[in-house]
């Protein structure tokens, strides 16, 4: 039986807006198996990024449950949630969100520092080399191109080798050539390390590389399809 790494059940998020409640996500249920790659696609405003944020415990749903690696995310306390984020997931943002005052190597070392991992500097250098930025470790984010910043963000997300990688429009701010490098890295980790990948994208070509595509529309699951044949 396939082990589910992520199980989302009847997830609903309503936010107050202008004196009424706005439904951002409506009764969303989704399972992601360990080692699977799942793309959440849909138009802007369909709630796909919000879904990713809820899985990471960055926001609290109005109702529903999210279980990730056996942990009920919505019931975790602050400390447990921080530990959950450190140990269970890596998060890649569309806008990279590198810390501007830290060098590339220091940015990659942040999760290692937070987890108290030994030799963070050496490990950060190793991770940067893995994304082809061995010689850019001492550069600040402002001195890097968009593609380089996203590669640093990828190295940071994978620093603690999490079982789940959440990627929110990872190529949204990049041109197609640079974006392809990022996508290749994401799927390479999935193949080589078995990292489960849950990504949100507008990009049809990127979505097609995932094992499964879940379509969201107006906060509801509008459809789902599996990839017909494996990508060569």
């Amino acid at each position: 039986m396939t082990r589910m790494l992520v199980s989302i059940r009847a997830l609903t998020l309503r936010l107050p807006s202008g004196g009424r409640l706005l439904t951002v996500l409506d009764d969303v249920s989704l399972d992601v198996a360990a080692g699977e790659t799942v793309a959440v696609a849909g138009p802007s405003g369909s709630g796909k990024s919000t879904l990713l944020g809820l899985v990471a415990g960055l926001d609290t749903p109005t109702s529903g449950t999210i279980v990730v690696a056996g942990a009920e995310v919505t019931r975790l306390g602050e400390s447990a949630l921080a530990r959950f984020r450190r140990e269970t997931l890596g998060y890649v943002f569309q806008s990279y969100h590198l810390i501007p005052t830290l060098t590339a190597a220091e940015n990659v070392a942040v999760p290692l520092d937070l987890a108290g991992a030994p030799g963070p500097a050496a490990r950060a250098a190793e991770l940067l080399a893995g994304v082809g930025l061995a010689d850019r470790g001492h550069h600040y984010p402002a001195q890097l191109s968009g593609g380089e910043q996203q590669r640093v963000a990828l190295a940071r997300a994978m620093a603690l080798d999490p079982p789940l990688l959440l990627a929110d429009e990872p190529t949204g701010n990049l041109d197609s050539t640079t974006g392809a490098v990022i996508v290749d890295l994401l799927f390479a980790w999935n193949r080589e390390r078995g990292t489960t990948l849950l990504l949100v994208t507008h990009d049809g070509a990127l979505a097609e590389r995932a094992d499964r595509v879940v379509a969201l529309r107006d906060g509801r699951v509008a459809g789902e399809r599996r990839r017909a044949a494996p990508v060569p």
Partner: protein, 337 residues
């Protein structure tokens, strides 16, 4: 080093301008207050140290008319106990040079023995009595300059004419009063009568300066004198309470400067608060990112914080839903490095 101090150090390194500004504001404010405090203390000490010289003696008896019988008797009693008394008269008068130029001056006519405390610096360095004898006068350099005179020339005061014999470089009991009517001219006490300036109605200040013998305390002597002298027009002051106007002025100046210092500190504080607020505001995305990476803290980051919607998450979501073409997760505002 654990993660938190290491991260804090790295953040501080990137925001050194904020910390320099903060330190500069605090340092400047504190320095201003300390400077004002030191200035006031130094002034007070100087006044205390120079009090006898500024007063002209241990005691000063001062009146706007000639000291009458009871004052004279009281001073005579003090003299009998070993005190030394010098009488000084001061008045404002017009001095004229040989070419007819006139200048308002402050005339001082002391008896022999002046000054009791401090040094009267003269050029040439000759005793005052010797320079003033036989119709001599000494004046501040300004007097001579403005009247076009030199040492040796004649200077007229009222009906009398004097020979300028020297220049006053420094006068111990000429207090740093805010207003003076003119530069100083010294003439001998007995020569003042010849000028015809001392008449009924003249604005003459009569002073008696007293140097007390060792066993007599200035305050006790002052109280004894004050008991003897009933005339309210006669003011008796001991050196440690002299120059009340000057002390009050300096005290008010110190208070004013202190207020200015406090105001500077307040303005500096606003600068510090603004700098810190800006720093913290700029750190908000970093803090949110750190939390998303698993940093432990008491505040739970929201998804909107991490993606840059710090102010109104509902409004941002509402925008996204209302306008499907709009980017629902706009890029976070890039931070200045």
């Amino acid at each position: 080093m654990t993660a938190a101090p290491r991260l804090a150090w790295r953040q501080a390194r990137g925001a050194w301008r904020h910390f320099v500004l903060l330190a500069a504001c605090v340092a400047l404010g504190v320095a201003a207050l300390v400077a004002v405090g030191s200035f006031a203390t130094t002034l007070d000490r100087t006044l205390a140290r120079e009090a006898k010289a500024l007063t002209g003696g241990d005691l000063e008896v001062r009146a706007a008319r000639p000291l009458d019988g009871e004052s004279v008797a009281a001073l005579a009693e003090l003299s009998a106990k070993g005190a030394f008394v010098v009488r000084v008269r001061e008045l404002a008068a017009m001095a004229r040079g040989a070419d007819g130029r006139a200048l308002l001056v402050e005339v001082k006519a002391p008896d022999a023995g002046y000054p009791l405390y401090g040094r009267l610096e003269l050029a040439p360095p000759t005793p005052l009595a010797a320079l003033l004898a036989d119709g001599g006068a000494v004046a501040q350099r300004e007097t001579l300059d403005r009247l076009g005179l030199r040492v040796g020339d004649r200077l007229a005061l009222g009906a009398a004419s004097f020979t300028v014999r020297g220049i006053v470089e420094r006068e111990p009991d000429r207090s740093a009063s805010l207003v003076t009517l003119g530069p100083r001219v010294f003439v001998a006490g007995d020569a003042l009568e010849g000028t015809g300036l001392v008449q009924v109605g003249s604005r003459v200040r009569y002073r008696a300066l007293v140097r007390l013998p060792e066993p007599l305390a200035a305050r006790d002597a002052r109280e004894a004198l004050a008991r003897h002298i009933a005339d309210p027009g006669v003011r008796v002051a001991s050196y440690d309470e002299a120059q009340p106007g000057l002390r009050r002025f300096f005290s008010q100046l110190a208070s004013y400067l202190g207020l200015v210092g406090l105001a500077s500190l307040l303005v500096g504080g606003i600068g510090v608060a603004s700098s810190v607020a800006t720093f913290v505001r700029r750190q908000a995305p970093t803090i949110a990112t750190l939390k998303a990476l698993g940093a432990d803290s008491g505040t739970r980051p929201t998804f909107m914080e991490v993606t840059g919607h710090f102010d109104d998450p509902a409004a941002a979501t509402c925008r996204a839903v209302a306008d499907p073409d709009a980017d629902p997760e706009p890029a976070i505002t890039p931070l200045a490095p």
